[in-house]
Amino acid sequence: MTSTKSKVLWGIVTVLVLVYALFPVASILSTSFKAPSDLTNQRFLPSPGQATTGNYEQILVGDAQGLFLTALRNSIGICLIATFIAVVLATLCAYAIARLDFPGKKLVLTTALAVSIFPVISIVTPLFNLWRSIGLYDTWPGLIIPYLSLTLPISIWTLAAFFRQIPWELEQAAQVDGATTWQAFRKAIVPLAAPGVFTTAIIAFFIAWNDFVYGISLTSTEAARPVPAALAFFTGASQFEAPTGAISAAAIIVTIPVVVLVLAFQRQIVSGLTQGAVKG
């Protein structure tokens, strides 16, 4: 195979993969610029000359802003807190697993695995019931706590895999120089571990950001309802108008952070996912 031929071939393959991965995003992006009257044009793009930013105005400064912006604030706040807590706890836990010898290490890892395959819907009913009786229903903590069941296990696995690859002699060297275990961890290891921790945070954030089951089951008002759940409750400007445009515009806005993170950190995310998944 000549080099030009292989280049052309790879060009075609790349275009195919790009179309596969981006077409649905392009589809909803295009829908988000359609005017309500233009929605039924049976075409991919808005009719010529009719493209509008009206849908974005509706959710950002118009009627639907209360619904969308509060949901966006809830989503960002809840997901960031859940990610932060999970990553801090998982960092300590993964350090112990990768580094220390203690009985029950396998139990912790197995538990993480079991929790990650746990059907979310199975614990929604008891949580729904419990949260109502202790006042956590429809609050931020009421979502942050169950989100930990989503973000903690994958964080532990991913970080344990990362930590196994760190040259721990550095830590021993620091200890020889008189540092305590804790100092050695903080001064010698944290700088090396930081990229792994950061990658894990991105992956955990994606997972929390994606949640829908907890979001619609454990909230009832705008007090804590995150974006994916809010999208399901969108209504049109009038009862005769489908909320298609507004939902599409909101969908694009919540997809932006994902695309930005992916563009900036694709290499780290891929290595984080593959390392966490298969062998450290």
Binding site: V13, P24, Q42, R43, A96, K106, T125, P126, Q266, V278
Partner: protein, 334 residues
């Protein structure tokens, strides 16, 4: 006194055996052991101090609720009528398992699981091969593109596919009108088959990147020498695939399939958004949701939740015992 006699001949033997190790270095050895065990104990304590909080939280947010669900499932209990709470043993399970709805939903869930996982395995393997072999120049763009569906919210994906196929706002009918059976009057979401097709398409689109990344990690572990040797021996591309590459990444394939199967079995978001379970598209998660959150039938809903959990356990058990999937091994555990 009599018992001391048989003991006598034994003790010199013991002494003879232990004597050399005691000898001159005895006391310092003992001290070393004492120090060592103290260090070990400190290390164990630190291990649990660090790992404990994460471990306890994981248990608290899953084990406790599932035990609570098991307990609640034994009662007839509706939140709108809290005073009529009544212990009925396994009555809820009897109601569910003798009802057609459960078996129909189980069938739909299994159908979705089998088809999506099969398609994703083929598609994901192709994507993994592409990423594995890609020229350096296109590797970055390829990975970025593949990660977009991975990171996107499932609900957003559901809306994107829904609007594309929808009879009013969609363009799929006009694009594919030349295909038999598709015309501008086809309402994809008004019958089970076509609705499931779109639901599965969205599910496959969104989750194939995950399976392909797991497979990519497996591909990277196949030693290059093996494929090189096969190539030198004149093996065709297909033979290399079948005889060298796939057998060597069997573990990764098994793990990917199990993970995706368990995930697909929990499908909820796509169905909720597109049909809300209408026209025979209801899945088990939606059934559980409908019972407890919509109808506030806590007892019945808890029983469905527990049954769903048992299904997941059975799938795991079958995979691990029958197909010997080593989850812990492949997940980086030692």
């Amino acid at each position: 006194m009599t018992s001391a006699i048989p003991a006598k001949p034994v003790s010199p033997d013991l002494e003879a055996e232990t004597a050399p190790s005691v000898g001159p270095g005895g006391p310092s050895d003992k001290k070393a052991v004492a120090q060592y065990s103290e260090r070990v104990r400190a290390e164990r304590r630190l291990g649990w101090i660090l790992a404990g909080p994460a471990f306890i939280i994981m248990l608290a947010v899953t084990l406790y609720p599932i035990l609570q669900a098991i307990y609640e499932s034994l009662f007839q209990f509706r939140l709108t009528a809290p005073d009529e709470r009544e212990f009925i043993g396994l009555g809820n399970y009897l109601v569910i398992l003798t009802d057609n709805v459960w078996w129909k939903d189980l069938g739909t869930t299994l159908l979705i699981t089998v088809i999506t996982v099969a398609v994703e395995l083929v598609l994901g393997f192709a994507l993994a091969l592409v990423m594995h072999k890609a020229l350096k120049a296109v590797r970055g763009p390829l990975r970025t593109a593949i990660l977009v569906p991975y990171g996107i919210i499932t609900v957003v994906s559901a809306f994107a596919w829904f609007y594309a196929f929808d009879i009013n706002s969609g363009y799929v009918n006009s694009w594919f009108a030349w295909l038999p059976g598709i015309d501008s009057d086809l309402n994809w979401f008004a019958q089970g088959g076509t609705a499931l097709f779109v639901i599965m398409a969205s599910e496959i689109w969104k989750t194939t990147p995950f399976i392909s990344l797991l497979l990519l990690a497996g591909l990277a572990q196949v030693p290059d020498e093996l494929t090189e040797a096969a190539k030198v021996d004149g093996a065709t591309w297909w033979q290399q695939m079948r005889k060298v590459i796939i057998p060597n990444m069997k573990a990764a394939i098994m793990v990917a399939v199990l993970f995706r199967a368990l995930d697909a079995f929990r499908i909820f978001d796509n169905v909720f958004i597109m049909t809300n379970g209408a026209y025979g598209t209801e899945v088990l998660s939606l059934l559980a949701y409908r019972q407890s959150i919509s109808r506030l039938e806590i007892g019945l809903g808890s029983a469905v939740s527990v049954l769903l959990f048992l299904c997941v356990l059975i799938i795991c058990f079958v995979a691990i015992k029958l197909f010997k999937v080593d989850l812990a091994g492949a997940q980086g555990g030692k």
